[in-house]
Amino acid sequence: MAQPARPAAAYRSQNGAGQQPYSNGPVQNQLMHPSDGQGYSPSVPGAYSHQMPAKVPPHQSSGQYNYSGSQIASQLNNYQGPGQILNRPPVAPLSGSPVQQTGSVPQVLPPALQNSAAVSSAGGFPPGASPPVLSNWQYSQTPVSHPAGSQTSHLAHVAGTASAQPPPSSLSGNTNPPGSYQYAASPGGPPLQNSYMKPGSAPPPVTQPLPPLHPPSRPPLGPPPVGGPPLIRPSALTAAPPSNSASQSLLNSSANRDGDATSTASDGSVVQNSYDAIEGGGLMATTHPSPAPPNLKMGRSVGYSYPNLPPGYQNTSPPGAPGMQTPALQYPDGSKPFHQPPLGPNHLTASMGGLSLQQEGLRPVNLLQERNILPTTLLQAPVPNLHEDIQKLNCNPELFRCTLTNIPQTQALLNKAKLPLGLLLHPFKDLSQLPVVTSSTIVRCRSCRTYINPFVSFLDQRRWKCNLCYRVNDVPEEFMYNPVTRAYGEPHKRPEVQNATIEFMAPSEYMLRPPQPPVYLFVFDVSHNAIETGYLNTVCKTLLDNLDLLPGNTRTKIGFITFDSTIHFYSLQEGLSQPQMLIVSDIEDVFIPMPENLLVNLNENRELIQDLLKTLPQMFTKSLETQSALGPALQAAFKLMSPTGGRISVFQTQLPSVGMGALKSREEPNQRATAKDIHLTPSTDFYKKLALDCSGQQVAVDLFLLSGQYSDLASLGCISRYSAGSVYYYQSYHHKHNPVQVEKLQKELKRYLTRKIGFEAVMRIRCTKGLSIHTFHGNFFVRSTDLLSLPNVNPDAGYAVQMSVEESLTDMQVVSFQSALLYTSSKGERRIRVHTMCLPVVTTLSDVYLGADVQAITGLLANMAVDRSVSASLSDARDALVNAVIDSLSAYRSSVLSIQQPGLMAPHSLRLFPLYVLALLKQKAFQTGTNARLDERIFTMCQVKNQPLVYLMLMTHPNLYRVDNLTDEGALNINDRTIPQPPILQLSVEKLSRDGAYLMDAGSVMFLWIGKNCGQNFISQVLGVPNYGSVPQNMTHLPELETAESIRTIAFISWLREQRPFFPILYIIKDDSPLKSSFLQNMIEDRTESALSYYEFLLHIQQQVNK
């Protein structure tokens, strides 16, 4: 106790620095928040129940606006089309130098702006003396590990405060550590950068072939990631800080110039009225409430205020497209194009050079003849057939993906296509670039509460039409100012309208109670069995190492409970010399032994917590207690957490045997083979009910199951499933016998502890009128038809949604989907992350097939199959999967193909469908046969439900590479590392050669198979052993050798690993390894004892299709 101060200080400082790589989210850094505490504004008092963003009454009254006295009207003629560089919100200002402060307008804007400004016709700005720009605006596009509000402060637009600006901006610049781009190389990074920056027209400076670079579902937009940042940064540097004295004055002067055109009103509402008075009549006449208003008219009447043709459009669209229409009729503003009848998606296809795509897509593939259909590079998500300008703004398919990128117009058409319609979401993915907006009013549709997004249409400057319910809304005064260009009167260029993924700082209307502190409770099984496995050592050590990296702030609380047949609490009261253990043996009626000091502040009690973590593994070594009272322990944990909410991490090693929630073993090893009577349903609803209680109190339970024997995961898993937790399963964990699992636990626990976390979250998914949500898949509790309650949300969770077409979407060119995730960050800020996706509507079956996204379909089908196996039976689910293929292919054959050809014809988009479904059938979750243990099977089902699509696809259909002959040809260059890109091989033993070495990447595991006659070179240069015989049996690491081969192989493997948040273990296997069967099991295309080979499967399908 003599030295508490020093370590604490040390930790704190570590906290700041060390946290960065993980605190992904502009959110996280306290340092960067000059005005921190905005999140803490006390809110509605009273009982905290559920937060429903949509129900919060809008506060859009103009009274909230914070007008400054000066008038600013932007008379800059720099209107550009959407999606141009200059519209891009500034990227985080990387340089701390206040260079920008002295720039004049032209300097502040990126060069491209000047160009296009010159090109653009000098459209007069609608008269309207404009009031002022709100002072509390924040906009920043920051790399994720950067704090948000930093780039621009709340002071930003207060007149005359320009000189006050440098500190914040330089602060943000300085605190960007190079390491903070950790995720830039991850799958999320590059695509996002692209989609945000979209200097789509700019040629990528790197001329390497793109495809191998892209992770499976990356959107083919934009330049390669390597090209992205350098291209953008410079312009961002100059354009970033919106507070610029020079531009400010220029803006002012332009306002003054403009002033004489209209009445110089200094009151916003007056201006708005006068504006309405001026514009209203004419507009009303041309406004059509119908979904597809003739915007051509609109363009004429309103268009005078905008340049007719955004130069960006001219610049970026390929030749041919503009020629189709007269320029004057095009795109009066950024979001209109898709409302113009002549620009319907079908027309676009013809005009947009999508021609070849369509032909390619429509070309039927005879699956029986074309054996090599698997692309050698990672499969990309199909690009929706939208106009390029809209597509550029569309949501990244890694975050938001639809099974059919061409939405069928009616349910009848959907039924005819026999394909599932649904969305796959990864809403809280770690992003390297995320625009964050702080503003006192969040602009939302008044009737359906949709957040304003890139796909709304602006009828004129003051009104926008919701793209989900088609209601016409007013543009609030604040929204008229664009902080990016510092121009007034360009609501369509605001970041909200330029980014399909955006995060809002939520004001206090979005809170039902003050944001909760991060609270972490760890519940450890310390029965004899648990101590035997030795997991406590690993967990406590990992926890000790990562204590400083736990996402949180000064309010972070932590607590511990251990249990065997009794429950042990640990008092960590300040002033105690060591933690005090309190034992509650009454497990029938659990109570909390003391009201305080069981959950304590992490920073204030760090020594005691560290003490406890160090002694905990030794405390129970003599324990002979074999019973496990998990149920009562969970009840106790729930009671402890319910006042605050937070996260409970439960470590369990056996079947709970006493107290509430005790379970009996249901697995009968002999019956594993029969797919009929396996217990996939929970045997008790105790865990489900407890999870629902937890969910109501904003508590999530994450389950770590480390068990050798059957532990009834079907029942236990409910605790996580309905409280939005996650399940981790380490089969036969043992600290000595199973070192591989130990490493896996260490790595995954580290990720688990340090990853971003959102508390008391809800997610709402909205979609265009006519579509409705049918079923949700994932870990959560469905609170209403479109609202999910997520006590915790983590960046590794994916969700799936089945949709149906309720009313036919006649007259609609496009539909939109929007997911809004409202959460409390670990820094105590309330935030809303909004993703919006826009897709075209089609009327013909062939178009539906054309836009099918086979990976998304497979993912959704897998989710549906899990539900089916639980509600009906496994064999039902398997049949349903096979039928999905048969039905869709026979529908295609009978309705689309005009000429009946022999063979098994599939649309090009679905050519991999049978393969993926076969892979699903052979996956642990759905396979028949004796080798899947029940818990393992159920765990895989949990994964299917909870994994984002990218990882699910890898798990289902692994990638196989030959790695003994890696070359630098076509390699990627990332941060001076050369990463070879070998082609992906088909999963068939015939592709394996005894002379080679092959890497199979199955998501959570990797296998490196060494052929018997593998080149001596590879064995000695990469494996570091003299010959094949001396490759050790349980090798899981490649030695880092100085040879070129070793460097290449290791670079490739670590590049694969970096792309995912969990740690795939690499098993090096030889012909005689016990793991060889797992490796061969993943050879999807081959025949196994109980499953068909790919070719047999195709024949089976053909037989059914041709019936």
């Binding site: 559920h50 929970p682 045997s683 309905y722 049918h774 079923t775 949700f776 469905v782 209403s784 038809t785």
Partner: protein, 133 residues
Amino acid sequence: MKSGEPTSSCLLALNEIIAFDELKTDYKNPIDQCNTLNPLVLPEYLIHAFFCVMFLCAAEWLTLGLNMPLLAYHIWRYMSRPVMSGPGLYDPTTIMNADILAYCQKEGWCKLAFYLLSFFYYLYGMIYVLVSS
């Protein structure tokens, strides 16, 4: 006296319909809704079963025949309910599934119609007996 059962059953079925509609239109939390609905399920089934027994005792074979399918349905429905510790049918975690919600609503309407019709049939039967005796 015969009309007692249909009246109470009618009310219960109506309550169910309203409840599911509330769920659909997002007015109520499914947990609360299930908590209010579940205790009413068994009483409804028991009242119906009780009246079936009464019809059996009174040797009202036709009426009993009309009610048998519903009785059988009730038994099947309760046998195949989700795993629950308390009485009731509705599980808050699955009730928001569009299929299940639609099914429950349809079930509610059908039962309401059946109870209403049987109410008038019983009323007619009662008056007929009163008048003829």
